[in-house]
């Protein structure tokens, strides 16, 4: 039976993603069980909080290998907010932490001399770099999405950039993808981004059903 697994590693509010998926009638399980995650038709890696704590929780729950296996088996994987950041090699949030390394690159903080306020809180545009990608279908380019974050990703490979956003003087990567491993991720919160955010989840579900 088709279902989406939301990885529960006790970081942040999973409920709003859960309710958003329910709203579009997608069967969904919130779980920390590796087998339930591996058997899913699509996996969402959410997260709000600090990078180091998040990696520690994933490790404690023995989920690091599970997520890497999801990527290897090409099961659709969708990282959101901190969930995007965890997919990268390394983060400089409160020290230096190793990530899941599914994307090469680093997580760095907004330079306070180049932006107005940290964190960035609110709605900002996303310029899609590949308007044919399944995730952004039926969404006008440069639509607004809801962001809450102080750190952003710097992918080593520019081919991984699916969306770009400007905050102050900084242009950063707000969506990443990797065609070969079926991973996508967004720095913004689709579940808090009204109509077009819901459309992103619809597109993800449609892709998972293929």
């Amino acid at each position: 039976m088709f279902y989406i697994a939301i990885v529960d590693y006790e970081m942040g509010n999973l409920k709003s993603i859960y309710k958003c998926l329910q709203h579009i009638n997608a069967p969904v399980k919130i779980t920390d069980n590796p087998q339930t995650i591996l058997n899913a038709d699509g996996v969402i890696l959410p997260g709000v909080g600090a990078f180091g704590d998040a990696m520690a929780h994933l490790k404690q729950k023995d989920l690091i290998g599970t997520i890497q296996q999801i990527a290897m088996e090409q099961i659709p994987l969708f990282g959101i907010c901190l969930g995007l950041q965890l997919l990268f090699s390394k983060s400089y949030e409160m020290g230096e932490h190793e990530g899941l390394d599914l994307f090469k690159g680093e997580i760095v903080k907004f330079d306070e001399t180049k932006v107005d306020k940290i964190p960035q809180i609110g709605w900002n545009n996303v310029e899609f770099q590949d308007t044919h990608h399944y995730l952004v279908q039926n969404i006008p380019n440069n639509s607004y999405f809801y962001f809450v974050h102080s750190f952003y990703c710097n992918p080593a490979n520019p081919d991984n950039v699916l969306g770009k956003t400007r905050y102050g003087e900084i242009e950063f990567c707000s969506m990443v993808y990797d065609r070969s491993s079926n991973i996508i991720a967004s720095q913004f919160h689709p579940e808090k981004s009204s109509r077009y955010g819901i459309q992103i989840y619809r597109n993800f579900i449609t892709h998972c059903k293929k």
């Binding site: 409920k15 107005d116 306020k117 809180i121 609110g122």
Partner: protein, 272 residues
Amino acid sequence: MVLTKRIIPCLDVTEGRVVKGTQFVNLRDAGDAVELGAYYDEQGADELVFLDITASSDKRKILIDLVERTGEQVFIPFTVGGGLRTVEDIKGILRAGADKVSLNTAAVKNPQLISEASKIFGAQCIVTAIDAKRVYVDSRDIKGDNIIIEIEEGTYCWWEVYIHGGRTPTGEDAILWGLKATDLGSGEILLTSMDADGMKEGYDLELTRAFSERLSVPIIASGGAGNPEHIIEAFKKGKADAALAASIFHYDEYSIKYVKEECQKAGIPMRV
């Protein structure tokens, strides 16, 4: 491509229904809170704020139920405040699906609540709500630490913090309290002018600007919006990051869509 200014309808609720007072008394029913929330999402509201103005311990369950139901129909960020006193209270509301909580009286009485909650849940979900009222003085030269501003030529005031839904003056300076709340880990300030609230004559722009220029976190201007021009002024002159309003939206005087279009015409970055 810039971060937009936010338009935030505020729903004052009691037992799941929306009310809005004039200067915090004379309440009038304006509809079902969840229904109204979903309607505002559809209309283009950037966030929602629920303030449970009659919050007491027996109302807690009703509030959590409201938050749960809201999460099923509203897909923009929403903040909940009103009578939250402890870390446990905050946890309950956030677990039920709220994105942020706003703290007012409890934070004034126990500022450590802000730092504790911020450490556990993150600064981004802790909003400090400040109800401020002008105290006019003859000149800048009075004793004490109050921050006195010349609001127009020859007219000076500072702002005093009120608690208990605007009923109790505290003697504390609002700007100093805002700075302290930010230091303690509050991620945003919801700033209500007691003088302007319910009057529909515009925000207290001097108050809003005084905060925006001094604090490093976003300022949500509140109290006094009567038309789109007032909201435009809050952004342009008050330098607010977000504008909160209630009655002008609830009674269909101006739609959110119309207000946002007017703001955009005035050159303010908006999600329309």
